[in-house]
């Protein structure tokens, strides 16, 4: 038996508390799983929250069809190993049904199309709480997001009418048709997540570590050469040793040059890094207010 629990990471204590509140206050919660490090961390926290019982809600992945193959393979293996229920809904289906229109051109991405597929899935399964891995340090609009963030029937975020959150108390009272987005790792920074993954020895997809990849340069960023990523003829493909700091769509997630091949060197790299994590996400660069606008429309 160990001594006392005072050495447990306070951010872990907070996140577990939040996840337990979700299971207790809602009828039909779901954990939104992207295959990225933040949602993988959420899965570990949920395991901890309910041990020795299983996680009492399913995982859901909104698949854009533009994911890194490594991510999908990892997702399926994790779900199988932990005996979890996984729901997958595809952006391609929303496109085929004519609900959204595929973007075209140089910066085409399916990132913003996910919103429609997500909202449809929430309605289909009548989910009343969606747990996500967003962090307040990622982006300025996210810095103001609550831990329990109420969305209306249209999935919209009203940033001017947010519920105050006092002490540890989380108010999950909602009307039929509304749902709550829940962010248990709101207060974690990128470094906190990486340090936690290292300490807990959590497995993550291989693309987070240095590997050789066929890439090309655009706007000073490094892009994967792949069928789903638009490339001009004069953008030359070259093999580079890279890794990814976030795992989004291939079409909007740029790589960074890195030799960090294991978790310890990745943590070191993050600690000394001078570019913020979302600096490699083109979806935020479209305009300074990009994230805020997407959030108002129901993006996660």
């Amino acid at each position: 038996m160990k001594g006392d629990t005072s050495t447990i990471n306070p951010l872990e204590n907070e996140a577990i508390y939040i996840i337990r509140e979700v299971a207790a206050q809602f009828e039909k919660p779901v954990l939104l799983f992207s295959g990225g490090k933040d949602s993988i961390t959420l899965v570990r926290l949920a395991q901890k929250a309910f041990y020795p019982a299983k996680i009492p809600f399913p995982l859901m992945h909104i698949d854009t069809g533009h994911n890194f193959p490594e991510t999908i393979e990892f997702r399926d293996r994790l779900v199988k190993e932990l005996g979890l229920e996984l729901i997958v809904r595809n952006v391609q289906d929303s496109i085929d049904q004519g609900k959204v229109k595929e973007e075209s051109g140089k910066y085409a991405s399916r990132n913003s199309l996910q919103t429609t597929t997500l909202l449809d899935a929430i309605e289909e399964f009548k989910f009343d709480a969606c747990i996500g891995g967003a962090r307040r340090d990622e982006e300025k609009a996210r810095a103001k997001e609550r831990i329990f963030s109420v969305r209306d029937d249209f999935g919209q975020w009203d940033e001017k009418n947010q519920r105050p959150e006092l002490f540890d108390m989380l108010n999950g009272q909602i009307e039929l048709g509304q749902n709550v987005r829940v962010f248990p790792i709101s207060n974690w920074t990128e470094l906190d997540v990486w340090s936690y993954i290292e300490k807990e020895n959590i497995e993550i997809p291989s693309i987070y570590f240095a590997h050789t990849r066929a890439t090309f340069l655009r706007d000073g960023l490094i892009w994967s050469s792949d069928d789903v990523v638009y490339r001009e003829d004069d953008e030359v493909v070259e093999d580079r040793v890279v890794r990814f700091r976030t795992v989004g769509d291939m079409s909007c997630t740029a790589a960074v040059l890195s030799e960090a091949a294991d978790i310890a060197t990745v943590v070191d790299e993050i600690r000394n890094s001078t570019i913020s994590e979302r600096g490699a996400r083109i979806d935020d660069k479209r305009s300074e207010a990009a994230m805020e606008k997407r959030k108002q429309q129901g993006y996660f």
Binding site: I8, A23, A53, K140, L166, M169, N171, D192
Partner: protein
């Protein structure tokens, strides 16, 4: 790893965002792309210095008006601590945001513009942080560069703030004064060369040496049950664990506990954190507890030590911070959430409200509007298990939820 949550309070133009930006800049927490964006924006606006406030002002509406309108969270870390700053606005209408920010913070920075000195809003900022029993307060006298770094000016401001302190309810609150220039960087992270007369620590030095006991109030252990863990697997067939967070003090294996409201006694058999067993659950940790006896405990119940019972009552008086545009009146009914427990509450009587000039002269009223702070007596449909807020910050506080809109409309601190 230590995490310190800090609330900030200042009036519009006191330079709060600049101070936070300066903290980030001098601790090298601003990444190169963020710094570039700040440089670009500052230049666009024709400033001849870096506008650090751009590092924190988040929402479009705010950027347009140039003011912060909601609670924003900012993160940075040093070798010693991880810091989370709740940037709360100082504007007169936003008492509710300040109360919210202070409720989750263990320290607070109150900003004063050295040119203006202690103003009515300083009164409010101090009153709220004192009401919320934030244990460590730093009074940062900012814009010292605009008063020629005058020691005399600083001492005058310090003296008028000390006059406010005499009236405070929570006398044990620790208060430290620091003269700073957020814009120029004096005494924020680095010692000021312009104010050799100031012998104290810089703002960051002060924060760095704060110990857990300096910022947390200790009390008696309270364990509100959040969730009952019942695996119903072969290996854990009869397992019945109570998941929750420990508040105020520690609980150990072998402790005799009383389950409330049933008042049934049992002993703590095991303490789990994930798949590991511990001797003691320290305050503020999320654990799962099993008991020696098979007693009936469900969400909203509370485990406490046998000689340390909280009050178990259906009526009490509390200080309320009202946060909604719809008024609170005698007879209004709300859902009262106390920790993880929910009951129905009726306003028995609005006793009096705090004068917004903080003169100490109370105002008689029977309705409360947005941002009012008042003493209110409630009646509940069933008893809750509480302590006075002065003895237990967690178990002495609650929120009020509107039964129609479901919004959180008020916060309460039990007297």
């Amino acid at each position: 790893m230590e995490v310190l949550k800090i609330a900030t309070a200042g009036s519009v133009d006191d330079g709060k965002s600049t101070l936070i930006g300066r903290l980030l800049y001098d601790t090298k927490s601003l990444t190169s792309d963020k710094l570039e964006a700040i440089e670009k924006k500052s230049k666009q606006r024709g400033y001849d210095y870096l506008d650090f406030s751009l590092a924190t002002d988040g929402l479009v509406a705010e950027r347009e008006q140039g003011i912060t309108i909601d609670v924003a969270h900012i993160y940075f870390s040093t070798q010693t601590k991880s810091y989370i700053i709740a940037d709360t606005p100082g504007h007169v209408e936003y008492t509710r945001n300040m109360v919210t920010g202070a409720s989750t913070s263990q320290a607070a920075i109150i900003l004063i513009d050295a040119r203006k000195g202690v103003i009515e809003q300083t009164n409010r900022h101090f009153f709220i942080n004192n009401l919320l029993r934030v244990k460590d307060i730093i009074v940062a006298v900012n814009k010292m560069d605009l008063v020629d770094f005058s020691e005399e000016k600083y001492n005058t401001i310090k003296a008028s703030f000390e006059a406010l302190m005499a009236k405070r309810d929570y006398q044990e609150q620790r208060i430290t004064f620091i003269p700073v220039s957020a814009l120029k960087g004096d005494n924020v992270v680095n010692k000021s060369e312009n104010m050799p007369w100031f012998k104290g620590q810089t703002l960051l030095e002060h924060l760095e040496v704060l110990k857990s006991d300096d910022i947390y109030n200790t009390g008696t252990p309270r364990f509100p049950v959040q969730y009952v863990v019942r695996p119903k697997t072969e290996e854990f067939h009869d397992f019945r664990g109570y998941a929750g967070k420990v508040y105020g003090g520690d609980l150990s294996v072998g402790d005799t506990v009383v389950a409330l409201p049933s008042q049934t006694k049992s002993k703590i058999k095991e303490i789990f954190s994930y798949n590991e067993l511990y001797e003691t659950a320290s305050r503020r940790s999320s654990v799962t507890i099993t008991l020696e006896d098979d007693i009936n405990v469900s969400r909203g119940d509370m485990l406490v030590k046998e000689n340390d019972l909280p009050k178990i009552e259906k009526q009490f008086t509390a200080t309320i911070s009202w946060m909604d545009s719809q008024k609170l009146t005698n007879g209004s009914k709300y859902i009262l959430q106390h920790g993880v427990n929910k009951v129905l509450a009726k306003v028995d009587q609005v006793n009096h409200k705090i004068n917004p000039d903080y003169s100490g002269v109370d105002i008689t009223t029977d309705t409360l509007g947005m941002n009012d702070i008042a003493s209110v007596t409630f009646k509940l449909n069933k008893p809750i298990f509480f302590d006075a807020f002065k003895d237990h910050r967690t178990n002495g506080s609650f929120i009020l939820i509107d039964t129609q809109s479901n919004n959180t409309v008020g916060a309460g601190f039990i007297q």
